[in-house]
Symmetry: D2
Subunit: 420 residues, 4 copies
């Protein structure tokens, strides 16, 4: 490119684009589609400011990766494999490209998988694929390897998806910025300064330990204050119930008044790449509107609730004491309310969101400190603060259900509603 | 209410709700719908962070109004009519409730009017109306009077819609926050401190003149840097072209493959209040997706462009020199391209966005300073800075058209494309 | 007062003064003197921005206290003893008034005590005393009781000096702001919202637990990143060495070329209240300049080092391995360098700065959460994060000495200098 | 240097040092002395947070210069003379090194000149000089040429001292940060992006015009809201009166109880370079303390006022109406109050602080925009906003005097005191 170009960004001030390929990728239909997928799904029900898209976040992950690599190059660190620059930037930009609307909430119900979709969008007949192939015919599959954590050079994956990667570095700051909470802020510039390429991996200079502590505490707080906020969870539960009902109806042969073709293929498990361009949040909202007028009472009720934010309420639940649960189920049974669609036990730690847990199979290797003697030390052995949150699976149990359905409110006298 | 409730807000930190009525209004379907209307329409094409909704902004206008009134009460200013507190808060919250999707861009084409819709939503059979009537049967119509600037007490309108009102105070800060530009920031707390109720109006203590200068300069900058940014304008033009084409097709009797019922009623000018709940941005985006597959080439092309951000380019235009325009028109004519849908002369100052212009009929009365002698002075007579922007109608002329249609690019050698 | 007055403050935006007494106290000579005492002593040697004074901090503590009480009054909490408002505000404002220059560093050497001086300045013949007596003749001694933690109502002391008091709330934010580090920020407004007066004490609503975690983690980080930073410690050590030398010389009958009268009285332990007004940092710096020209080599050298920031270097020290220490002492002995003035073992946790340690005698009672059942629970029993830092005495051992004195640098080959 | 080093800075996050020479210069006695000179003189009397030093500011000017040059190099602009990098950085760092305490206020009275002192400190026998000579024997004098605006390459001076230089860019942001006002903020990163070296000068890409407008408006606001604030002016006037009195007494042969040797030489006009190291604000404050105990009533009174912030009050003054002035003078005469020391007419625009005024002899050439055709255009011909403040000499006239001296307060009934 003749001159670097910029995007104004509230979190990083500017996103700098210095490669024609990056510019082209941003302009593809598949990447522009990310503007129509919210970064935080139903969190805007809790924090009204959280209306930002995966488009913004993807640019942010790219920018942090660019900054890290640019620093490596400026300081001429010999352990950084220079030839991995472009693939790292591209993988950073595209790491979320396969995400569908509310994907964290409904992938299970719908049996889809955003990593598979990323693969299809990068390897299929897409604009993205055609730009990537201009570099080299193997480039698209190498990008997929990075995103799916199968690339030969671990340091590239360390940049994009690890315990201390550009993805998390961006979303903590960005989600804090848009929700307005203070918990996600940490000193990004300091962390960038203490990262080092070392023996094929990304490590942290020992003197930067406290800034990593601060970053991990930010994550901890964001999980419990924002990502696992029960009102957000309640929105996600409602979404799952909607799709569960719709899919069951579909499989039972129910005739929908409105059912867009891509949704049919989604239910049939035959979604193709072209459909993915339109499988966005606006389509879901429009669908919900039509479904709210379906003759099926349950589907109509659930979608109406979602559109107008009439969420399920929630109460604390102790797994060793089933009495609350039994009381509700009994009431549901007596009143013909189907708990499949109107009740959910929720225990956030089950989610695929992960808190720092070395040893966990699905997880990347731990964060290493590099000391003055050139040794690497796993960070929780040096930091008390990190040690205490390491491998600890904190779980909160709640029961969600629509409080307004309980006509005999006396049932509620036993326990206290927690909704704010 | 037993205890005040809050919403976390990135701009004001917290939005404080102290009245049951306000809480109830926020929970209505009609107000929740504002979550599905972006505050800045197509600005997210230029500033990707500008994805915030009218819901957030409406809470912000309410909060600023609450702060002003709360200060008046704390300082026991006798010129503040205490009985106007609740109506002021409600009007602040609801002032934008009638806005449809992209309303600034397409009201003209579709012959709708958001002020009329506000009226319908407040006076019609809506959840909002039923809560307002609980106060008093005349309350809904009094709220409408404030929003439509016909209320008996000017100070209430000064709070909600004037040159220095809670609406502008919020959107300058909020739009600056979400776009990431610095231009919209000014010292809100300082301005709140220098506002005074005086002889039935809202005035500014003379010592606060410089902070009003700063606020007006923020507005000036935001208009030219953000609101009139040509890429944003280009998105708006595309929207208008889409609806112009669709409406013309509708009137010509064209058979659409997809046309949702509320859209039919919209084209027929028979939209009713219930439709308004679903006339949101998701519905438009979904429609665009289906229209992008219509057999009408023009509609399909325009909607495809919008979805994938393939905007019209733009060049500077001097009204006294028609040569550029003629060259393009000639080319269009020769190549059968219809300028009705593919060309636009745009001169931003024509828009209803207004910069401080005393004397303009549509505009509220000017900002007055209150001096130590108890006299009020129009601010531009004291401030050189404000004097220079007063009544000055700055206009920028541009021609917009899709550069990619010009197969004979030689035509472009005559003038320079301005797109970044 | 006819109208509230404000001070512009970078941390709280504005400091609001609503009582004539507060206004008068700020204007006294004794309070104005705090402008000439830095809040963070020698920290500006490490973080050059940390040049703020105890004056700014004292206003901040006052403002936070004012905000807390104002919220209690607005919400009409019946457990808040309204009559304690003024004494709380005054004690907040004056809590640091007895601090001398660099007092944390040199109180021990000089055998002074800032709490005693606060007492003298409030009870003695001062402007402060005369304004306080206008309220009531017992008012000054009641203010002293609060500052010295002997007041009858614990909730007043909770506000001013406890584990979660206005003092710490202000200094974390302020010191973070002026140093430029991010570690000290936490959500002040959130914490103010969850504080409650309860059974004579200040407690925290249980739902605010995470925000207290965040606040305590900020403190933890600030201690290790800022307050215990070895370069700051090195400055403090140098100060102590200077005064140790000067006092020893004084006691040995050495004739100083320059010795200001208040310093003589300071050495004699006969400082009177009037002297305190001039015992500020400028006086110390000027003295150091003159002492840098004294014929006593050690005093001249130490003061010269302080003025020009030629600090002692430092190395890690393991208390179980005296070899490093012995090597240096041997070298000092051989070269006639007096370790009394040129060597210091430093172990920061010994300092009077305190980290959260329930059970510690000098410490206030712990932070209590108030749950929905009206029970209070000590916070570390609910929070893993807080539990891990509770009562843990983290200590870092270092040896400080002037590296440049070691002409035979070979001695340094044994260990690594840590100076940045 | 083996690795870049950083200083944590609240305004720029980090100051990056990449050259051994810069590191060495920062460590010199002469540069460390700037820690003992406040950046904003008596402004802390008005804005208590403004306690930052010239040391911080000097690092900031260096950092902005470094950023500009680093961008020029990264973009390989051929019009940037690469060999000027180091001299530019050094001149940026040292541009204020000759400033004495409160130099803007008292240079006239004491007949000193900070530009002369910069010269002496750089060319004399100083640590700075010895480091600079290591580069090359002519290097010190070339640095002086840049600072005194006599260097051969105008672009180097454009960087350090022009209408849009690193000096102003830093102080607007820094002074806004420390005072807490919002007026000084503008988009630094945007301005850095639009600067270009062109035909031997520093110019601004035309598309950056609005960001320069915003920067110049920030300056305009900072002058009137902060730098010319009457309380700040009152502090400066008091300082001048003190030194005027002291100097007159000295010349009359008065015997001072306390008069430090460097002050004697200052009064004699025989200050030498060594003295300059100790001529700092602490020395002045200590002197004021001793002078407040002098037998000369006027000197004692004036210094006492300064120490305890008992400033002169002020009233508006219309140069065409001398009546207020005459009334005060008559009262002074009747009561034996000497107006030489107790009265001042002040008209801020007379100060050497300058607002954008092309054509003014002392001023640098104007800011030029560079358009797409490669032409440069003076900015006020394109910008209405800038045109209005160009060359306009706004002046405010006030009379300052100690209101408390007017025992017959009736004199005050004629006019209104303006003190807040």
């Amino acid at each position: 490119m003749d001159e670097e170009k910029v995007f104004k960004d509230p979190v990083h001030q500017y996103i700098y684009v210095q490669d024609r390929l990056i510019w082209n990728l941003i302009d593809t239909k598949e990447f522009q589609r990310l503007r129509r997928i919210r970064q935080l799904g139903t969190t805007y029900f809790t924090f009204h400011g959280a209306e930002h898209s995966r488009f913004s976040h993807s640019l942010g992950v790219y920018e942090i990766t660019r900054k890290i690599i640019s620093r490596f190059e400026r300081n001429q660190y010999i352990e950084w494999p220079k030839e991995e620059r472009l693939i790292s930037l591209v993988a950073a930009l595209l790491h979320d490209v396969g995400h569908g609307p509310f994907s964290h909430s409904i992938e299970k119900v719908l049996n889809t998988n955003h990593e598979e979709w990323s693969k299809s969008l990068i390897l299929g007949e897409t604009e993205i694929n055609s730009f990537l192939r201009q570099i080299d015919s193997t480039f698209p599959s190498r990008v997929v390897d990075v995103i799916n954590k199968k690339y030969e050079k671990p340091i590239v994956m360390d940049l994009i998806s690890s315990q201390l990667d550009a993805d998390r570095m961006d979303y903590l700051l960005r989600d804090a910025y848009y929700t307005g909470v203070n918990y996600g802020f940490y000193d990004l510039e300091r962390i960038l300064r203490v990262l080092r390429p070392y023996q094929g991996r990304l490590v942290v200079k020992e003197s930067g330990m406290h800034s990593v502590e601060d970053y991990l505490m930010s994550r901890y707080q964001m999980y419990w204050q924002v990502y696992f906020h029960p009102v957000t969870r309640s929105g996600e539960i409602l979404l799952r119930k909607i799709f569960l009902r719709a899919k069951n109806l579909f499989e039972e042969g129910y005739t929908f008044s409105t059912l867009f073709p891509p949704i049919v293929r989604l239910f049939q498990g035959q979604l193709h790449v072209d459909d993915y361009l339109i499988l966005d949040e606006p389509m879901f909202f429009t669908l919900f509107y039509f479904w709210s007028q379906e003759k099926d009472q349950i589907l109509a009720d659930l979608t109406e609730r979602f559109l107008h934010r009439r969420l399920f309420q929630y109460i604390d639940f102790n797994p060793n004491d089933q009495s609350k649960l039994e009381a509700i189920l009994e009431f549901f049974h007596k009143n013909n309310i189907d708990p499949t669609y109107y009740l959910e036990l929720d225990s956030p730690s089950d989610l695929s969101y992960d808190i720092y847990r070395p040893g966990d199979k699905k997880e990347m290797s731990p964060i290493y400190l590099l000391n003055r003697q050139g040794e690497t030390i796993e960070i929780s052995t040096k930091s008390d603060i990190i040690a205490v949150i390491t491998g600890k699976r904190k779980t909160e149990h709640k029961i969600f259900f629509p409080e307004d359905l309980l006509k005999e409110k006396s049932i509620l006298s036993q326990f206290q509603l927690l909704t704010r």
